[in-house]
Amino acid sequence: VNDIETPRIVLGPILPELFLAGFAVVGLLYEAFARRATATVHLAIALAGLVGAAVTALMLWFWVGDAYVLAETVAADRFSVLARLILLVAAFVGLLYYLEHIRRDPGAFRGEFFPLVLFATSGMTLITAANDLIVMFLALELLSLSLYVLTGITGRRRANEAAMKYFLLGAFSSAFFLYGIAMAYGASRSVKIDVIAGALAGQTGGQALALVALAFLVIGFAFKISAAPFHMWTPDVYQGAPTPVTAYMSAATKVAAFFALIRVLNVAFQPLTWDWTPLVYGLAAISIVVGSVLAVAQTDVKRMLAYSSVAQAGFVLTGLTSPDSVGISATMFYLVAYAAMTLGSFGIVMFVAAGGRERTQLSDYAGLGRRSPVLAALMAIFLLSLAGIPPTAGFIAKVGVFSAAIGAGNWPLVLLGVLASVVAAFFYLRVLVYMYMREPEEEFDVEPPAALANVAAAALAVVVLVLGVFPGLITDFLREAAILRW
């Protein structure tokens, strides 16, 4: 009993999470004890957390210590560093959007927003670094619970309904995930991702338990990345949540969950590659078709983008059907592009408002090209990128995942993907049609966004274009980050 080893404590690789969670706590205390909490102070606290996390994450890129730390529960690799950086940027943009949101509607200000975003972000960053399914589960819960609250943070009826729905379905998916962990333990006697891989590689014969574990874990993730047929919550939650939350949630949650999924599939279940690729293949195909087809029927831009994000999840999964570093780096590129264009498009959705309320109906976009040329042009860039038209990042991203999938021999999926892209082009174009080719039925002046929010959206558009023309700028980093060890 005496020789229980206490793990060596090396905090370096989780410093970003410590920064995020630490400043989240500071923010909560400030909200609780300050007589009148202001957005400025909250923002300062949150920014301190984000910057600290970003700096420490960057330092981790050059980490030369152990590959796994804290009793091998956390991986210190470049894979997680990249994920963290994307997530931190998404959180930063989310905060800027929220400032704009409360500038337009001061009554909507809730101080808890800032610490909750930090908590959610720390959960997201941790999930991408976790080398232990239990830690992964905890991180997943941390981010999910924060997001449930964020969804309903306005306390308005619609938001509450969305939060409730998100919570119930999210609880289901957590249960699946947890059950999967139990099965994985049964199959390999460990919850450590690298150990599972080793154990499965050493096994021969029936692997029923491992396969069940795999299925449950993938289902758990499928909820989080809103892959069909586990996407049911997505449209309602995206529509009901305040738009800054939607923007942040749709970009960051998907990125985080995908990074974690990549690690689980390509490390823990790497020995079962032949078993999980069909699963991913099927999910990708269903998501692409369901997302593209249902988006066509939407008249609300926010709902349309929600369904489009289901289709986008399918495209990302297409890259994962290639179970090697080519597929992983193509998937990561897609995620970078996806984060930029999703944050951007939801940002514009938020800006298109008048009289203190967002105008999300398609018909509200009529004539936007004339009334607000800058907003319309930015929206056009994001939508063309989502549709995969050159010279945008979305195009390069699609080529990347498609070529990876074809390299793995999955050309039927790619054919389906490109054909669905045509369907998708239809509904993305429809917004363009309204913006540039229709006259508005009802004249209302779009309130111009504050400079800061505008700059954020414009910067995202620049990212989309620059990555579309010079994808080489980040491919080397992605290749470095795509190396997963076990």
Binding site: S403, I406, Y436, P471
Partner: protein, 515 residues
């Protein structure tokens, strides 16, 4: 700098677009027009420099520029030109200033309009010059957005429908192009140890494919280009797009955009999959012949003059495809020649129809008539373009159509005979349309219509002049085209090179044109 001639030519219009964007509201409408005209003229000048440096005797691609763009993906920035693309590039740079000048009266959002035109020019030139399949695809897709905006933003009453239809049809087609490119890329990874889209290397990769796979890939590429050409039965987007597009949009659509499709057939289908091309030769021929007759027959019954010209394009492009898939020297040379000729002749027709519409505000043939009384010069030009389009000897299309028919007859009498019907049909519907516009009783409200203005002369004169020049002296064009098509033939149907049945016919055609 001269080593970068192709890049300069391609990117100059894009620089103009940037100028328009940076200039912002500081540029008034007039300045925007002048910028666009100056940039397109300068691009034309650069393309003449390409012509000057082009060596007709040299083998293979010339002025090649090669650099890695995204090495990880295997995407190269690879540009090059040969006898097939040379005149298409010059046709493009020639028609763009004409189109800009023809759009002088556009009032709405001039900066955006001109910007879309310039973006379109870069995309089209890039498509003709790219030798990397993915790079080609990139430019090919990039054509869609500006053209979509031009049709949807400045078109006629039903413009949104037409614009969306154009976009979705072409994009659906290019989906197959992308899959085929990626498939070849993956094969290259297996064969060469690294993925590549370099056309020169992919020829070898494609040759090593099993025949069935090659045929599937051929079909995929064919669908992509058949939509663009358009080949029956994938042509249904064209009449709508043409009818609704603004004049310059129609000119460019007919003049250069459709040629990207036929060019793609030669550049990719024939050079990558010669065996599959041989296999599908009759099938494609049948589609082309149907297109020729069907397009002509439908043009016959049109009452909308713009729709009529649009359907005549379906018929004429059928000739081009038929010539290409004859796999004879005359056929392919004629096909390439017809691409240039059709671009000029139909471009001229669309310009004239646009000018008529600006005056009469109608495209309905029954609402016109007697216009030759008030606008003798304009209608004279119309007749000239009609003659060029129907292939009157001495004007440009004659040589091309003649070569195509000779080339087709050499291998298939049936196709040749039916194609001749198409020539007759073209004479009927075009001359008939002229008759209904020019003669008969004039409507009262048309009595005071002005004849051509100085600007319109500047628009029309260069185009009409070329109709004559290329008709009288086609060797300007064929001098560069012949060696290139001979190489294509050597690659596709080596047997045809030795049995030079039509060699005399080529000389004959050139001779007759020279009279």
């Amino acid at each position: 700098v001269t080593d970068r001639l192709l890049t300069l030519t391609t990117l100059l219009p894009l620089a103009g677009l940037v100028l328009l964007l940076v200039g912002g509201r500081a540029l008034n409408d007039r300045a925007a027009r002048v910028v666009a005209l100056a940039v397109t003229l300068a691009t034309f000048g650069l393309s003449l420099a390409i012509l000057g440096r082009f060596d007709t005797a040299a083998e293979g691609f010339q002025l090649v520029e090669e650099a890695w763009w995204v090495e990880g993906v295997g995407l190269k920035y690879l540009m090059g030109i040969d006898g097939i693309s040379l005149w298409l590039v010059i046709l493009t740079t020639f028609l763009f200033p004409v189109a800009v000048l023809a759009s002088w009266n556009v009032k709405k959002d001039v900066r955006m309009y001109m910007g879309a035109m310039l973006a379109l020019e870069t995309a089209v030139l890039g498509s003709f010059l790219a030798l990397d399949m993915l790079l080609f695809f990139l430019f090919f897709e990039a054509i869609l957005v500006p053209m979509y905006l031009l049709i949807g933003g400045w078109g006629g009453a039903n413009r949104v429908y037409a614009a969306v239809k154009f976009f979705l049809f072409t994009m659906a087609g290019s989906a197959f192009l992308l899959v085929a490119s990626l498939f070849l890329w993956a094969r290259a990874t297996g064969e060469l140890g690294r993925g590549t889209f370099d056309l020169r290397e992919l020829v070898g990769v494609a040759a090593a494919l099993p025949p069935t796979t090659g045929r599937w890939l051929f079909v995929a590429l064919f669908v992509a280009f058949a939509v663009k050409v358009p080949i029956f039965p994938l042509h249904t987007w064209l009449p709508d797009a043409h009818t609704e597009a603004p004049t310059a949009g129609s000119v460019l659509l007919a003049g250069v955009l459709l040629k990207v499709g036929t060019y793609g057939l030669i550049r990719f289908n024939l050079s990558l999959f010669p065996d599959a091309a041989e296999y599908f030769r009759t099938a494609v021929g049948i589609l082309a012949v149907i297109g020729i007759v069907y397009g002509g027959a439908v043009a016959l019954i049109q009452t909308d003059v713009k729709r009529l010209v649009a359907y005549s394009s379906v018929s004429h492009l059928g000739f081009v495809v038929l010539g290409i898939f004859a796999f004879t020297q005359q056929g392919i040379t004629g096909g390439v020649l017809q691409m240039v000729n059709h671009g000029l002749a139909t471009g001229a027709l669309f310009l004239l129809v646009g000018m008529l519409y600006e005056r009469t505000h109608t495209r309905d043939l029954s609402q016109m008539g007697g216009l030759a009384q008030v606008m003798p010069w304009l209608l004279g030009a119309y007749l000239f373009a009609v003659f060029a389009s129907v292939g009157l000897p001495g004007l440009n299309s004659f040589v091309g159509e003649f070569l195509v028919i000779v080339g087709v007859f050499a291998v298939n009498h049936w196709f040749g005979s039916i194609a001749v019907v198409g020539v007759v049909l073209a004479a009927v519907y075009l001359l008939w349309s002229y008759q209904r516009v020019a003669y008969g009783p004039i409507r009262d409200e048309h009595r005071d219509l002005p004849d051509v203005s100085a600007r319109e002369v500047a628009v029309l004169a260069p185009v009409l002049a070329l109709l004559l020049v290329f008709g009288v002296y086609p060797r300007i064009l064929t001098g560069a085209i012949d060696p290139a098509t001979e190489r294509v033939i050597r690659h596709v149907a080596p047997a045809q090179v030795t049995t030079d049945v039509g060699g005399a016919a080529v000389a004959l055609a050139h001779g007759e044109g020279g009279e």
